[in-house]
C-alpha cells in the first residue's frame, strides 16, 4: 500500500529537555522521523523546546518551533501552520501527553488535524491503567492484581485485594516518577498521597507485587494492513522491582525456550491489536515467574520509547524511521531493509552477538537521596556494548560507563566486609550491586544462594562466575604477564588491557605491547540485522576476539570522531549534537567520517549519521584499536566533552594525529600554572588562586586569599565536587571531597567573586580569525554552575564597552592558545572589571544553544576547520548579534531525588536545557521558564524569604509584583524589611518557627511563586523545607535574586503582551 496522498503537512512534537526517563533517544527518533518524512515529500512542522537536539536544526524540518511544549503553545503553532496530521508517537511521553491534551481539548478537531500512528482511543487504552487491564484480560492474558484509585479512600479499598508489598504507580508520569513500593500501611498512605499529587490526572495504579520475577520487553511494529513483527526481545538482568531504565538489560532474551518466547510473542501481537496501535512501534513489558513461567503483562508504551532506541541500535533495525513510514501509509513489505538493501523491512531481525545495556547513575550529586534503585527511574544515561558473548558485552559495557571501573573488580569493595553485611548488599538494590555479586562469587557463596538474595537469574550469575574464576587464574599469575591461551581467553571474556595490566602489575602500555606481541588483536564484526544471512551494505561495527575481521577500511581521506559516551549530568546531548555535526560536516566536504561511541540513545550512534560507525567503549584501548584498523588522517577529540579530551594526550603519545587544537594547547588552557603565565603575559585578570594537594596546604592558601573561596578538583566536568566556601568551618569537608575526586591531580582554590555577573563566550577560530559565536550573559550570578544557570543572547545588562572588551580578550586568548575549532571562555564581571574564570579549547555545552540562537552551525564549521578549511572559505568571519533574544534555561531532576536541596551552586545538577525565543527579553525568559516546567503565574501570592544581601533588591521586586496585582507573603526578616519600605506583606512562619507555617501554605496551594535565597549553613537548613516543598508540589520557585529579577520582568511582559510563536527559520532571515 503506497503512502497516503491525503497527508501533506505533519506536526511532530518533540520531548523537550533531557530529563531522567526522557533523554536523547527522542532526538534520535524525532530526527529519523523528520528526515524520512521530508524525503517522502511531506512538509514537517516541529515543536521542541530543546535547542541541543539535532531535530531542531533548521534544515531538518520545514518549520521548527523552539517553543515550550504545552498544549496552549502547540495550539498556537497549529493555528499558525495548519498541519493536517499530528504524529504523536515519536516525542516520548511529553509528545504523547501533549497530543492527548490537544485531542481531548478539541483542538485537533477544531483545526482538522488527524492523529497518525495511534488514535486517541488506542493511546488511552495503553496509558490508562484501568482500561489497559480490562483490554488485556479480555484477550485472555493476565496482569498483576490491581486497582485504580483517584482518592485515598479508593486506594484503601484496593490494597485489601492486592496485599503487601503493593506497587504504586501514578498515571501519565515520566520514567515512573512517583512510583513506589509500600511494604506497610504507613508507607502505603504516604506513597498514595504523593502519587495522586504527581499524576496529572490524579490517578494511581496499585498493583500486586511481582518483585523478583524475571522481566522482559518486546519491541513490536505494526503496519496499517495489520502486519506485525517483533524487532527485538530484551531480558532484564535486574528482576522486577527495579525500573527497566535502571536495570542492566540484555538483548536478545537469553533464558526462554522457544515455546515460552513464542507465547510472549503471541501475547505481544494480541496486545498491539487489542490496544489498536494502528501503525508504528510499541514496547511491551512482561514479567515471568522464575519457578513456573507464569506470564504477566506489565505495561505497554504505544509509542517509540527508550527501549526502541536500544532495540534499534541493538539490531540495526531503525524503528523510528520505519514507524514514520508506516504512519504515512507504507506497509512493512514496501520498505527496504537499510542494512541489507536487498531484503524488505517486514522481517524479524536476528542477531549473532549479545548486547548489554548498563545505566549510569549520578547519586554522588544527590547525597541526601538514598542510592537505592526502585521502580522510579533514577539513571541519567546509559551505555550499550556489543560482544559475541554476554561476558564480553558485559565487560565492555562496564568500561563504557566511564566510572573508572573496568571490570567487576574488587577495588571498591571492602574485602573485609562481614558476610552478613555482604548479603545485605545483595538483598538491597544499590546501583553497584553487581560488584558485590562478584565479591560473593569470589567468596564462593553458591549461585543458588546469591539468586535467592538477588533474584538475578542464575544464568547471569554463572556467567559472572566464569569471569570471576578467570580473574582468579589471572590473579594467581600476579607479577607475570599471562600466557597466550589464558590471555586470549581473557580478551574473549571482555577483560580490558587496563584491568589485566593492573592484575599483572605492569603499566597498560607495556601490557598492550605484550598482547600485541602475542598476536592477539580484536577483529570487527558487522551489525547486520540478519545473523550474516545476507550481505550488509552498512559498516556498523563492533569489536570482538574472533578470527575474521569485517572492517575493510577504505583508502579515502578519513577522520575519526570520538563521541561522548553515556549521558551524565554535565555531559549530555549537547556534545552528541556537536559530534553529529562533525560527521555531517565531513560528509559535506568529502572526508569519510568514522564515529566511535557507546551511547545507544544518541543520533551519533545511528548508522547513517557517519560513514562508518564503531559501537565501542571510549577508552584508550578501544579507540586505539579502531585507529590501528582504520589509519585515519586525524582524530577529533574536542566535540565529545571531557571523555575524548582526556584521551587526547595518550592518543597523541601513541602517535595518533589529533586534528584541531593541539593537545599542547589544551594542556596550556587546563594547566593552572601555564595558564596563569599566559594570562599575566596578556595583561588579563583572573581571580587570585592557588593549588593544593592537602587540607593543610588549602588552609594556608585560604588564609592568604581570604574567604569566600571556590574549591574544585581538576579535570572534571559538570562542577563535580565544586563548592563555594564562606568560612574555615565548612572548608575541611569540602576540601576532602575535592581531593578524593581529583585523584592524583591537585585541587584548585580560587578567590570567589561574590555578586559578580558571569559571562560565557563561545568562539570559533582558525589560523587567522577568531569569530565570536555568542556572548551569553548569565541570569544567575557567578558561583552557579554555567550549566545550571539561565543565560541570554544577546546580553541584557552589559555595557557596550564591556562587550567590546570581552570580544577583545576572547580574540586575544583564541590566538595565543592557537585554537583551531571551538573555544569557550567563562568570564566574571564585577565593578566593570573582567576576570577570566576558565578557558576550554573545545566544544562547550552551549554550542548548540548558540548555534540555534544565531542560526549558524558552529560545530559543523569547526569540524571543517579541523579538516583544513578556513573561516574565510566557510564564509563566517563576522559575529552575528541577533536582533531578538534567545534565553537558555536549565532543567533539574530534583523531583526524582527526594530530600535533595535545590539551591544552585557550583556543582552542576541539571540534566537538560530549554530555549525561549522572542523579540524581547521578558517573553523569551518567560518562554524558557514555561518550557522548563516553571510556569510563571500572572497573579496570586508570592512568597519571599531572602538573605540579607538580597533584601534591598527584594523590596524593589515586591513592589513591582504588588503593582501587577500579586499579594506578598514573607518570612520574618524579609517581612520586616518590606513593611519598613511600605510594602504590605503578610507574615508567615518558617517551618522551624511553629505552625501553621509556610510549608503548610505551600501544601495548601496558597502560594503561586516562591522567591527564596539563602546563604550560610543555618539559613540554608532553615529554608530547605520551603524549597523542597516547592519542588514536590510543583510550585514555581526561584533561588537567586537575579533569577527573581528576570522572573518579575517576565511576568510583567506576560501581562503586557500577547505571547506569540515563530519558527526559527523566520528568526534567521
Amino acid at each position: 500500500m503506497p503512502k497516503r496522498k491525503d497527508i501533506h503537512k505533519i506536526l511532530i512534537i518533540g520531548s523537550g529537555p533531557i530529563v531522567i526517563g526522557q533523554a536523547c533517544e527522542f532526538d534520535y527518533s524525532g530526527t529519523q522521523a523528520c528526515k524520512v518524512l521530508r524525503k517522502e515529500g511531506y512538509k514537517v512542522v516541529l515543536v521542541n523546546s530543546n535547542p541541543a537536539t539535532i531535530m531542531t536544526d533548521p534544515e531538518l524540518a520545514d518549520r521548527t518551533y523552539i517553543e515550550p511544549i504545552t498544549p496552549e503553545v502547540v495550539e498556537k503553532v497549529i493555528r499558525r501552520e495548519k498541519p493536517d496530521s499530528l504524529l504523536p508517537t515519536l516525542g516520548g511521553q511529553t509528545g504523547l501527553n501533549t497530543a492527548v491534551a490537544l485531542a481531548e481539548g478539541g483542538v485537533l478537531k477544531k483545526y482538522g488535524v488527524r492523529l497518525l500512528g495511534a488514535n486517541l482511543r488506542a493511546i488511552k487504552k495503553a496509558e490508562e491503567r484501568d482500561l489497559f487491564k480490562k483490554t488485556i484480560l479480555n484477550i485472555g492474558l493476565q496482569v498483576p492484581k490491581s486497582g485504580c484509585a483517584h482518592t485515598w479512600e479508593e486506594a484503601r479499598r484496593i490494597v485489601e485485594q492486592v496485599g503487601f508489598p503493593a506497587i504504586i504507580r501514578p498515571s501519565y508520569t515520566l520514567g515512573g516518577t512517583g512510583g513506589n513500593i509500600a511494604y506497610n500501611a504507613e508507607e502505603y498512605e504516604k506513597y498514595i498521597r504523593w502519587g495522586l499529587s504527581l499524576s496529572p490526572k490524579s490517578e494511581v495504579l496499585i498493583e500486586e507485587s511481582v518483585i523478583g520475577w524475571k522481566e522482559y520487553e518486546l519491541e513490536v511494529m505494526r503496519d496499517r494492513k495489520d502486519n506485525v513483527v517483533i524487532v527485538c526481545s530484551i531480558e532484564n538482568l535486574d528482576p522486577m522491582g527495579i525500573h527497566t531504565g535502571d536495570s542492566v538489560t540484555v538483548a536478545p532474551a537469553q533464558t526462554l525456550t522457544d515455546k515460552e518466547y513464542q507465547l510472549m510473542r503471541d501475547a505481544a501481537l494480541k496486545i498491539i491489536r487489542a490496544i489498536g496501535v494502528e501503525t508504528g512501534g510499541s514496547n511491551i513489558q512482561f514479567a515471568v515467574h522464575p519457578e513456573n513461567g507464569k506470564l504477566y503483562v506489565i505495561e505497554m508504551n504505544p509509542r517509540v520509547s527508550r527501549s526502541s532506541a536500544l532495540a534499534s541500535k541493538a539490531t540495526g533495525f531503525p524503528i523510528a524511521k520505519i514507524a514514520s513510514l508506516l504512519a504515512v501509509g507504507y506497509t512493512l513489505d514496501e520498505i527496504p531493509n537499510d542494512i541489507t538493501k536487498k531484503t524488505p523491512a517486514c522481517f524479524e531481525p536476528t542477531i549473532d552477538y549479545c548486547v548489554v545495556k548498563w545505566p549510569r547513575f549520578t547519586f554522588e550529586k544527590f547525597p541526601q537521596t538514598p542510592a537505592e534503585l526502585t521502580i522510579q527511574m533514577k539513571s541519567v544515561g546509559e551505555a550499550m556494548a556489543i560482544g559475541r558473548t554476554f561476558k564480553e558485552a558485559m565487560q565492555k559495557a562496564i568500561r563504557s560507563l566511564e566510572i573508572d571501573r573496568y571490570s567487576l573488580d574488587d577495588r571498591r569493595v571492602d574485602r573485609s566486609l562481614p558476610s552478613d553485611r555482604l548479603k545485605d548488599k545483595l538483598r538491597h538494590n544499590g546501583w553497584d550491586k553487581l560488584w558485590y555479586v562478584a565479591e560473593a562469587l569470589r567468596r564462593e557463596i553458591p549461585v543458588a544462594e546469591i539468586f535467592a538474595l538477588t533474584k538475578i537469574d542464575p544464568w547471569f550469575l554463572n556467567n559472572i562466575k566464569d569471569i570471576v574464576e578467570l580473574e582468579a587464574k589471572l590473579v594467581a599469575g600476579k607479577g607475570r604477564l599471562p600466557e597466550k591461551d589464558l590471555l586470549e581467553q581473557a580478551k574473549q571474556y571482555g577483560f580490558s588491557d587496563k584491568y589485566l595490566a593492573s592484575l599483572a602489575g605492569v603499566p597498560e602500555l607495556e601490557f598492550r605491547r605484550h598482547r600485541q606481541g602475542l598476536g592477539i588483536d580484536c577483529v570487527y564484526k558487522t551489525v547486520d540485522t540478519c545473523g550474516a544471512e545476507f550481505e550488509a551494505a552498512t559498516p556498523y561495527l563492533y569489536s570482538t576476539y574472533e578470527t575474521e575481521c569485517e572492517a575493510h577500511p577504505t583508502t579515502r581521506r578519513k577522520i575519526v570522531i570520538l563521541g561522548g559516551g553515556p549521558n551524565r549530568i554535565g555531559q549530555g546531548i549537547e556534545f552528541d549534537y556537536c559530534c553529529c555535526h562533525a560527521a555531517l560536516a565531513l560528509r559535506e566536504i568529502g572526508v569519510e567520517s568514522i564515529m566511535i561511541n557507546c551511547n545507544p540513545e544518541t543520533v551519533s550512534t545511528d548508522y547513517d549519521t557517519s560513514d562508518r560507525l564503531y559501537f565501542e567503549p571510549l577508552t584508550f584501548e578501544d579507540v586505539m584499536a579502531v585507529v590501528e584498523k582504520e589509519k585515519p588522517d586525524g582524530v577529533i577529540v574536542q566535540f565529545g566533552g571531557q571523555t575524548p579530551l582526556k584521551l587526547a594526550v595518550p592518543l597523541e603519545k601513541a602517535g595518533v594525529k589529533i586534528v584541531g587544537t593541539s593537545p599542547d594547547s589544551i594542556d596550556l588552557a587546563e594547566d593552572r600554572k601555564r595558564f596563569n603565565q599566559l594570562v599575566n603575559q596578556l595583561g588579563l585578570l583572573q581571580p587570585e588562586s592557588g593549588t593544593a594537594t592537602s587540607y593543610d596546604e588549602t588552609l594556608q592558601i585560604a588564609r592568604t586569599l581570604g574567604f569566600p573561596l571556590l574549591i574544585r578538583p581538576s579535570f572534571v566536568l559538570g562542577g563535580r565536587a565544586m563548592r563555594v566556601v564562606h568560612d574555615e568551618e565548612s572548608l575541611k569537608a569540602c576540601v576532602l571531597e575535592a581531593i578524593d575526586v581529583s585523584g592524583e591531580h591537585p585541587i584548585l582554590i580560587d578567590k570567589f567573586l561574590s555578586d559578580a555577573t558571569e559571562i560565557d563566550v563561545d568562539a570559533i577560530c582558525d589560523d587567522r580569525h577568531v569569530v565570536i559565536g555568542g556572548i551569553m550573559e548569565h541570569i544567575e550570578e557567578a558561583g552557579v554552575h554555567s550549566g545550571d544557570s539561565a543565560c541570554s543572547i544577546p546580553p541584557v545588562n552589559l555595557k557596550p564597552e564591556i562587550i567590546a572588551e570581552l570580544t577583545r580578550q576572547t580574540k586575544l586568548l583564541g590566538r595565543h592558545l592557537q585554537v583551531r575549532g571551538l573555544m569557550n571562555i567563562q568570564f566574571a564581571i564585577r565593578d566593570d572589571r573582567i576576570y577570566i574564570l576558565e578557558v576550554n579549547p573545545r566544544a562547550s555545552r552551549t554550542v548548540p544553544f548558540v548555534s540555534k540562537a544565531i542560526g549558524v552551525p558552529l560545530a559543523k564549521l569547526a569540524a571543517k576547520i579541523m579538516a583544513g578549511l578556513s573561516l574565510e572559505e566557510l564564509g563566517f568571519t563576522q559575529e552575528i548579534v541577533p536582533t531578538y533574544y534567545a534565553v537558555k534555561e536549565a532543567v533539574f531532576p530534583f523531583l526524582k531525588f527526594p530530600g535533595t536541596d535545590v539551591l544552585l551552586g557550583p556543582e552542576m545538577l541539571s540534566t537538560g536545557e530549554v530555549m525561549g525565543l522572542s523579540d524581547n527579553f521578558g517573553t523569551a525568559y518567560a518562554k524558557s521558564q514555561i518550557a522548563a516546567g516553571n510556569t510563571l503565574p500572572t497573579g496570586g501570592n508570592v512568597l519571599f524569604s531572602v538573605r540579607d544581601a538580597d533584601k534591598a533588591k527584594a523590596v524593589g521586586l515586591a513592589r513591582r509584583l504588588r503593582a501587577l496585582g500579586f499579594k506578598i507573603i514573607a518570612t520574618k526578616g524579609t517581612c520586616i524589611e518590606f513593611i519598613k519600605n511600605n510594602i504590605p506583606s503578610e507574615f508567615s512562619l518558617k517551618m522551624t518557627e511553629g505552625r501553621p507555617n509556610i510549608v503548610d501554605a505551600i501544601i495548601n496551594k496558597q502560594v503561586d511563586l516562591i522567591v527564596n535565597t539563602a546563604v550560610g549553613k543555618q539559613s540554608i537548613l532553615d529554608s530547605f523545607s520551603i524549597r523542597r516543598s516547592a519542588v514536590d508540589r510543583q510550585v514555581p520557585y526561584v533561588t537567586t535574586i537575579r533569577g527573581a529579577e528576570a522572573v518579575v520582568r517576565a511576568i510583567e511582559t506576560l501581562k503586557a503582551k500577547r505571547t506569540t510563536v515563530k519558527p526559527i527559520q523566520l528568526y534567521y532571515r
Binding site: 532474551a253 522457544d258 513464542q262 503471541d266 512493512l332 524479524e348 552477538y353 549461585v447
Partner: protein, 377 residues
C-alpha cells in the same frame, strides 16, 4: 577436549568438543533462530546436516522432555560459539552437552561461527565433517571425500517409521502449570493419513488439536494402502534431503491427487510440486531460521515464518500447470506455497507448525480442515 570442523573446500575450524565423541559427515548449514535448538536438533529434516547456530550463546535454557520434535536427534553435528554448561529455566531437565552426548551427537564450540556462516553464504552449502576424535586435516579430508552429499539421494528412507501408528496427543501449552502442559483434544472429525518423510511432532499435535484422527504411515506406503484407510485427507510431511530423489512418494502422490484432499509442508510441498509436474532445485545455502517474511498472495498479509529447506520448487516450472501460487518469500522471491483447487491440494514450503518459530501461519491447519469439510459436504 579438541574438536574440528572441516569443509570440503579445505576450510578448517578448530574448537572445543562437547556432547558425544565421534565423527560425522554431513552438509554444513546454518540456522538463524535465536531460540529452539532442541526442536532443531530433533527435526528429522536435519538428517545428514551439521547445523550451525548463528546466535552465539546456545544451551542457555537447557533441554526438557517436551520440546523434542521427534523420537531422536537427527542433526549430524552441532556447531556453536559458546555452549552453556549452566542452563537456567524452570522447565530445564539437563544440559545441552549431556543431551547431545546421551543421544550420540557431536558438538563443537568456541569457533568463529559468524565466519563459518559468511563462508557458507558466499560459497553455498558445503559438505563437511565434524570430529571430536580426530582433528588431523588430512585424515578428516579423506573421510569427507567418501561422503556423497545430499543431491540425488533419497534419505527419507533413513528417517521414516517402519510401520504405521496412531498419534493422539494435542499441542503443548507451557503457559499452563507444570504437569498440565498437554491441552485437551477436541473430538476427531476427520481421518487423516500423514506420510512420515521425517515428520515433526508439532505437526501431528496440531492436526490432533484441530480435530483430526491421525495415522502416521511410512514414506513407502502405497496409494492403495492409503486409500484403503478411507482417509478424509492426506498430509505430506517435512523431511530431509533432495525431494526429486524420493520418487516412490512422488508417484504415490500423483495417484492420490484428486482422490483425497492433500496438505503438504516443506518436503511434502516439494513432493506435491513434483507430482503436479514441477521441478525442484537446490538453493545456494537454503533458508533456515524463524524470521523469514512470506507474503500470502490471497490476503496480501505477511507472515513471519519458520523455515528449514535447502531445496525449492521452481516457480517457472509451474507456469503452465494448473497450480496457483499462494505464498512468496519476500527476501528472495522464491516460491513458498501453492494450491491446486481442482485437485484439492495445497502446500507450503515453510513450517506453519513452527516449533521453533512464530505461530503466524497456523491458520493453514484450519484451511486443511475446511478443505476436508468442503469435500465431505
Amino acid at each position: 577436549m579438541r574438536a574440528a570442523l572441516l569443509l570440503e573446500d579445505g576450510t578448517y575450524f578448530a574448537g572445543r568438543a562437547f556432547g558425544a565423541r565421534g565423527q560425522r559427515c554431513g552438509e554444513v548449514v546454518f540456522n538463524t533462530s535465536l531460540s529452539g535448538y532442541q526442536e532443531i536438533l530433533t527435526d528429522p529434516s536435519y538428517h545428514e546436516q551439521i547445523v550451525t547456530m548463528t546466535y552465539p550463546l546456545i544451551g542457555n535454557y537447557g533441554t526438557n522432555p517436551e520440546d523434542g520434535e521427534s523420537r531422536k536427534l537427527f542433526a549430524a553435528g552441532f556447531v556453536v560459539k559458546e555452549n552453556c554448561p549452566y542452563p537456567s529455566n524452570w522447565r530445564n531437565g539437563g544440559t545441552l552437552a549431556d543431551y547431545l552426548q546421551q543421544r550420540g551427537v557431536v558438538g563443537i564450540e568456541g569457533i568463529d561461527t559468524r565466519r563459518l556462516v559468511r563462508h557458507i553464504r558466499t560459497q553455498g552449502a558445503l559438505r563437511g565433517i565434524i570430529s571430536s576424535t580426530e582433528t588431523d586435516t588430512q585424515k578428516l579430508a579423506e573421510k569427507l571425500r567418501e561422503y556423497p552429499g545430499l543431491v540425488g539421494r533419497d534419505i527419507v528412507k533413513d528417517v521414516t517409521v517402519d510401520r504405521p501408528y496412531e498419534w493422539n496427543q494435542g499441542v503443548i501449552d507451557v503457559s499452563q502449570p507444570a504437569g498440565a502442559h498437554r491441552t485437551g483434544i477436541p473430538p476427531a472429525r476427520h481421518k487423516i493419513v500423514a506420510f512420515d518423510f521425517g515428520i515433526k511432532h508439532n505437526i501431528l499435535r496440531l492436526l490432533v488439536s484441530h480435530g483430526c484422527q491421525v495415522t502416521v504411515v511410512p514414506a513407502q506406503t502405497t496409494a492403495a494402502q492409503v486409500l484403503a484407510r478411507k482417509p478424509d485427507g492426506v498430509f505430506l510431511s517435512n523431511g530431509p534431503g533432495d525431494p526429486a530423489a524420493v520418487t516412490c512418494a512422488i508417484d504415490t502422490v500423483k495417484i492420490l491427487l484428486g482422490q483425497v484432499p492433500i496438505f503438504g509442508i516443506c518436503l511434502g510441498h516439494q513432493i506435491l510440486g513434483l507430482a503436479l509436474g514441477g521441478r525442484t532445485y537446490k538453493l545456494k545455502f537454503g533458508h533456515r531460521g524463524a524470521n523469514h517474511p512470506v507474503k500470502n498472495l490471497d490476503t496480501g498479509r505477511i507472515e513471519i515464518t519458520s523455515q528449514n529447506h535447502g531445496f525449492c520448487v521452481d516457480l517457472d516450472s509451474l507456469a503452465d500447470k494448473d497450480v496457483q501460487l499462494t505464498h512468496m518469500n519476500l527476501n528472495d522471491n522464491t516460491l513458498e506455497g501453492l494450491r491446486c483447487d481442482r485437485l484439492q491440494a495445497f502446500s507450503v514450503q515453510y513450517h506453519p507448525e513452527a516449533s521453533p518459530g512464530p505461530h503466524d501461519s497456523q491458520y493453514l491447519f484450519q484451511n486443511f480442515i475446511r478443505l476436508m469439510d468442503t469435500r465431505a459436504a
